[in-house]
Symmetry: C2
Subunit: 304 residues, 2 copies
């Protein structure tokens, strides 16, 4: 079992979907990523919350085995995000963002965190992602995620980040936006030429594409009749992917990478079935394995 650190946001989400509404539910990129990764590997969390953050949320993370030593509790209010989804659930419309304690967040990694072998820079300001990388001693594998806001506001800082990572995660719209290419196949290759060994484009209900060194993998999504709330799906995907790699350890082969994508995809398929971490809270290893097998079965075809 390898050591793994995740930096990102922890916040309280207020979300409206056509199916219901959640108020101040546990959210944030680091939250989903850590909780998802923890099904596979111990994980260390770097983030900040305010002094209003409910203790029960920290207890939930700790109970799952997430190390919260690097979770700062600052004076002030916790980061809050409020968003709504239309009927097609494809895109979140941000209604309000209150940075609060996040505005002055400076990640400070505890000494043993700095020795982690696997690093996931979940979606936050790319300058904070760089500040985390600068504190790492000799990470073996680094992954990062981002969002449209940083592609638009801080493209140069973001390019510095992705030059240093092994795995870049983004969704299809972000891949098109950042690369300037409407073709996802070209977008993946353009982004890869900027540094990352591997680019993973998340396509929601359409699965994911992984661009490696002269390799290409098209992963299916688990077919869900209902998506209840897509919030956190991408973070859950990436957390599951890195967590699985950390669990397996050793050399990273194409075979292993493809399995990691499948596990990430399956983890995301659970997250979207309920609000916040509600579905993941009751998720078992057996349920994960069962869904992975179904995914294999429904994507498999034989040629003679």
């Amino acid at each position: 079992m390898s050591s793994m650190v995740v930096v990102g946001s922890v916040g309280l989400d207020t979300i409206k979907t056509p199916f219901g509404e959640a108020r101040e539910a546990l959210g944030g990129s680091a939250t989903f990523a850590c909780y998802s990764a923890s099904f596979f590997s111990p994980v260390r969390m770097v983030a900040v919350v305010g002094d209003d953050f409910p203790q029960q949320h920290i207890a939930l993370l700790k109970d799952k085995g997430v190390n919260t030593e690097g979770l700062q509790v600052a004076q002030g209010k916790t980061f809050r995000w409020s968003g709504a989804y239309e009927y097609d659930l494809n895109e979140a419309h941000t209604l309000a963002t209150e940075l609060n304690v996040f505005e002055h967040f400076r990640p400070e990694l505890p000494a043993d965190y700095r020795k982690s072998e696997y690093v996931f820079l979940a979606n936050i300001d790319p300058e904070l992602q760089l500040a985390v990388l600068d504190q790492m001693e000799s990470p073996k594998y680094i992954a990062c995620d981002t969002m449209n806001l940083w592609i638009k506001m801080k493209p140069e800082a973001l390019k510095k980040v992705i030059k240093r990572v092994d795995f870049l995660f983004l969704n299809d719209a972000e891949a098109r936006q950042f690369s300037g290419s409407p073709s996802l196949v070209k977008a993946g290759r353009v982004l890869q030429s900027w540094g990352p060994k591997c680019v993973l484009i998340k396509k929601g209900e359409h699965g994911a594409l992984m661009f490696g060194n002269n390799t290409f993998f098209a992963a299916p999504a688990f077919p869900l009749e209902e998506v209840y709330d897509p919030t956190g799906a991408g973070d859950t995907f990436a957390g599951g992917f890195i967590g699985y790699l950390a669990q397996q350890g050793g050399e990273i082969t194409e075979t292993l990478l493809r399995k990691a994508v499948v596990y990430g995809s399956v983890m995301a398929s659970f997250t979207v079935e309920k609000f916040s971490l509600e579905r993941l809270k009751t998720l078992t290893t057996e349920q994960i394995e069962a869904r992975v097998r179904v995914l294999k079965q429904l994507a498999h075809f034989d040629l003679d």
Copy 2:
């Protein structure tokens, strides 16, 4: 080798894409479907053109082995369609439709056509699709395609058609529109409950979904850096699918169906590389087989 008949449109397309423009190029649902199917199996075409239709187009079809005995040549002008695609190439914007001889088209199947075992009702007015079905003696397998226009204008006639078919083809937007469900997984099941043994939802660059009897197959799309012109991709897909089934003959198993989807998907990936039939005209069996093997390789993953 089994016998196969295709009914649909033959026309002259004027198309603008961000990459170029084609004027009065050979097009139409039956054209793409027949040409694609003919790589696998002899095919009989039922359609109408006007007396202005260039002989070279008929020669092209005949040279490929398409039986054009059922291609009526009527007094008047050939059906014309003019459309444009935006930069993302996802949806055609129809600029003009001139029905011309198509307005009074009544499909009349030659006697030997009526004995065909495989029938593909390519996209035309569902009432004409029904008229073709009524002329068939004892078809073994029937497939149909359609479009948003008929879903909106003639939903009841269309429902009568799909009640009688084995395979229903539509794209993702049409599946959502017809079923009233934003979830493609639910849409596939709803459409299946209306009659077809199998529903195939074409998702362009995202591949295709096949809903069978308690089965589900997610097929990848061949990854293209550039899509030059998506016109005819869906017809090529369906034509390749049915043509492959007709070539293989015999009992239709899930394994065979999945291979047919893969062949259909690969055929479509060639069509979109150039305007009209330009790419298919130079396509070889070896190129088809090579792309099928690539598709297998890029979609494959192992679970210990």
